[in-house]
């Protein structure tokens, strides 16, 4: 007898209603989600409807998660591994067959539906699912590692649904707390991107060991210790991933012409962003120049060492810098706010005195690829390597005012998008009152993940184009500019060129004042 198949058939009969609800939710999701790509993006009513569909899709996502959690817990605990009074443990079950039956069940009723749902959403969005099989496979691995196995492990070391629920909540809270502690005390919130693979490997190793041991020997406490140790190890790995040693290993010292300097004038002085119990966040305006032609730089993180006149020093963790990606455009120099963290006591002691800031920047260098230009069409258009874009007429004005883009399974690689805005409605060709206005924006990511996490196979690509609004005399507030059919749109992909560390020193830096309402005695 094939025990795994026999147990699988029993579980399928037993959990038929849970399976039906779970599949119904997936089907509903697959029906709801593509509506935003298959319906015209025109008019406020339609945009509101799409927002409603997004809310519904979000709700369905939550319900799907809950249904999987119930399904997995009920499945595993139908042959509970905890305790010594279970009926099945005195029957001729082979543990490998039992575990195999459970995995088969999860593959059939959770894994396979997710892959099918992703493929369907891909097809609905205009992509060819078969062209994305590796990404679908990666997505399945991610779902197994981050959703199915953790829930399976919790169900395997708890005896009842209630205990599994409490344990799940406990693990979630513990994970958040450990990550927050690591973020505050060790990493500053930044980690090198390849550390995700180490975390994934550790997570899989801990989950597989704990589950395997529990099924093979029913040594519940040992399995619990292994799983708890795995959780701690994952947090430690996350913390170590932002350590100076790993950052130094990933970002090599460089002699590039890139120049970063203190720039107190262009965007105002530095100011205190926030004040915590231990740390003070300070925003410092900087000046970026010297970016080589055909390249871009992404300031990923910064570590500050502040040195007082009396020799006292404070060195922060590596702190992530968000949205600081710059490209060369002639001899462009740009100013950007830089988030620095200082120890509160150091800040208080040195607030009125000049200090020297030694800054270490973790910088990703990007190289421009071949641009792809297209005259703005009136319907969906495909941008190679970027995805499919749809012109948006949010105001039902008969004019397009934005682009909505989507890509298969993941965000595209970093891409610089330029458009030409028209101040006038597109119908008034020939009577245009002003020259086109350039708009630009970054889209995509440098992350190397092959696929997103979840049931939706389609990733919405956010493009925040500059200059998309204009102020008209006599009108209250800004009004949108227009993307007229036929106007040029250019997509310039960027690829990784290198990861470098740049060291800069700002002499005689004066700490800003505390924000209103904050006092050092707080």
């Amino acid at each position: 007898m094939n025990q795994a198949g026999h147990i699988f058939a029993k579980d399928t009969r037993h959990l038929r209603w849970e399976i039906a609800i779970s599949l119904a939710l997936v089907i509903a999701y697959v029906v709801v989600v593509p509506a935003e790509w298959t319906q015209p993006l025109e008019g406020p009513t339609q945009m509101v409807r799409i927002q409603e569909l997004r809310v519904l899709a979000g709700l369905l996502s939550v319900l799907m998660g809950v249904s999987w959690w119930i399904l997995i817990t009920r499945l595993v605990q139908s042959e509970s591994l905890v305790g010594d009074r279970q009926w099945w443990i005195t029957k001729p079950y082979e543990w490998s067959e039992l575990l195999g039956s459970k995995l088969l069940f999860l593959a059939a009723f959770i894994g396979l539906p997710i892959v099918i749902a992703k493929a369907v959403t891909l097809a609905e969005a205009g992509f060819t699912p078969f062209a994305h099989l590796p990404g679908l496979g990666y997505s399945l691995i991610a779902i197994v590692a981050f959703l199915i196995l953790p829930l399976l492990a919790i169900a395997a070391v708890t005896s009842t649904f209630g205990r599994a629920t409490l344990t799940t909540l406990g693990v979630f809270v513990a994970f958040i707390a450990l990550e927050a502690l690591a973020s505050v005390f060790v990493t500053g919130g930044f980690s090198v991107d390849w550390s995700e693979w180490i975390v994934l490997a550790l997570l899989l190793a801990a989950l597989c060991s704990g589950i395997g041991l529990q099924y093979a020997c029913r040594k519940t406490w040992t399995a619990r210790v292994i799983l708890a140790a795995g959780l701690v190890l994952v947090c430690v790995a996350t913390a170590v991933a932002g350590s100076s040693a790993l950052v130094a290993m990933t970002y090599r010292q460089s002699g590039s012409p890139l120049q970063l300097s203190y720039n107190p004038d262009s965007k105002g002085s530095s100011f205190t962003q926030w004040a915590g119990r231990r740390l003070i966040g300070v925003s410092v305006p900087i000046h970026v120049s010297g970016i080589a032609a055909g390249t871009a730089v992404d300031l990923n993180a910064v570590q500050v060492t502040a040195e007082a006149a009396d020799g006292r020093r404070w060195t922060s963790n590596w702190v992530p810098i968000w949205g600081a990606r710059y490209r060369a455009e002639g001899d462009l120099s740009v100013a950007a706010p830089l988030p620095l963290q200082f120890d509160r006591s150091f800040f208080a002691a040195e607030q009125k005195k000049p200090v020297t800031l030694h800054l270490r920047f973790a910088v990703t260098e990007l190289r421009a690829g071949t641009p792809y230009s297209v005259a703005m069409p009136k319907q969906d258009f495909t941008v190679p390597g970027f995805g499919i874009c749809t012109p948006v007429d949010a105001g039902a004005l008969g004019d397009y005012t934005d682009l909505s883009c989507r890509n298969a399974l993941r965000q595209p690689s970093v891409t610089f998008v330029t458009v030409e805005w028209s101040n006038d409605p597109c119908g008034s060709v020939g009577s245009a009152t002003s020259a086109p206005v350039a708009g630009e924006g970054w889209a995509g990511t440098m992350e190397r993940n092959q696929a997103n996490f979840g049931v939706n196979g389609v990733e919405e690509v956010g493009i925040q184009l500059s200059n998309n609004q204009q102020h008209l005399e006599g009108q209250q507030g800004d009004v949108p500019r227009h993307l007229c059919p036929g106007s040029p749109i250019t997509f310039t992909p960027y690829s990784l060129s290198g990861r470098k560390e740049y060291d800069v020193t700002f002499e005689n830096y004066q700490m800003p004042d505390m924000p209103p309402g904050y006092h050092f005695g707080d």
């Binding site: 010594d84 009074r85 279970q86 005195t90 029957k91 001729p92």
Partner: protein, 308 residues
């Protein structure tokens, strides 16, 4: 004789509590072995160690020739197990449960299954959660007997059952013996006396004796000696339990009786005896005598310790 179950210095502790202390026990093949003892004596622990549900702290248990800790699922297709406090798949019907179990056992006998269903009057369409305690035990017993196991292990199978159900279950067991070795635990002595071939007595984790029922019954005698004159104070041999002497009558339980030889020994010890009666004892009386004697010994030992 081969043993269906053999334990060697089997020990289990839970924290500081000794649930089993170095138990040596052998259940002969083909026997109906009743392990008796008061609640908390360690009967269920011993059974769970034999079934590889628990792991021993020390010592070993062999079941059908295999070390219990090394038993796999495959080894369990020759062993039936029924326990009073097992968690059953409540959502299944009786018929579905038997149908589900059928493919697990290569020796499953469909005709015997039908026979047991009829014999135990089991409703195949009834869900297990809807069954009474007695019906549930009968369903479990049917599932444990239908594959003609080489060994049937029963943990308090008759506890709390009405006499009718108990008799039905016992009839079902007797039908299977001696094809199947049966090892059962009970704290109700009267229910096992009628059909057990072997008996072991466990108290506070220690096996006080383990032997054939007939030998046990022959070994214990309630002795009454009527003397011509008041009994003189004399040393009491350890095999005399509950020794009482009042005027000219001496009463005790002899735990090592050897028939005529013992009668001759007693006549020699009590030369002025007018009459010596050696009455056989029911199992219940034997165990009560042993249990009280043990308790008395413990009280004396505790008293001596406190005096020391």
């Amino acid at each position: 004789m081969n043993a269906a179950i053999r334990t060697t210095r089997l020990t289990k502790t839970f924290g500081r509590t000794d649930a089993l202390a170095s138990v040596d026990l052998a259940v002969p093949e083909g026997s109906i072995y009743a392990l008796v003892g008061p609640n908390g004596a360690g009967k269920t622990t011993l059974i769970k160690l034999a079934m590889n549900i628990l792991q021993p702290t020390a010592g070993t248990a062999e079941v059908l020739g295999k070390a219990s800790h090394a038993m796999t699922g495959r080894d369990l297709n020759r062993i039936g197990y029924v326990s009073e406090n097992q968690e059953y798949p409540e959502w299944m019907t009786v018929g579905a449960m038997l149908a589900y179990l059928r493919p697990f056992y290569p020796t499953w006998d469909r005709a015997l299954e039908q026979q047991l269903m009829a014999q135990f009057d089991l409703p195949p369409e009834r869900k297990i959660r809807q069954l009474s305690r007695g019906m549930r035990m009968k369903a479990a017993m049917a599932a444990a007997l239908a594959f003609r196991p080489a060994l049937l292990v029963l943990d308090e199978p008759f506890s709390g059952l009405d006499p009718l159900v108990r008799d039905e279950l016992i009839m079902g067991l007797l039908d299977r013996s001696p094809e199947t070795s049966i090892f059962l635990s009970s704290h109700d002595l009267s229910e096992i006396e009628s059909f057990s071939s072997h008996v072991g007595y466990l108290e506070q984790g220690r096996l006080l004796f383990s032997e054939e029922m007939t030998e046990l019954a022959a070994r214990f005698r309630e002795v009454t000696v009527t003397l011509a004159s008041p009994a003189a104070q004399k040393a009491v041999p350890p095999q005399w339990l509950h020794y009482e002497a009042s005027d000219s009558v001496v009463r005790f339980v002899h735990s090592s009786c050897r028939g005529e030889q013992t009668a001759a020994d007693l006549r020699q010890m009590f030369p002025d005896a007018k009459d010596i009666e050696m009455e056989p004892m029911p199992l219940r009386a034997i165990f009560l005598a042993v249990a009280r004697a043990r308790r008395g010994q413990r009280v004396v030992a505790a008293h001596e310790r406190s005096q020391a």
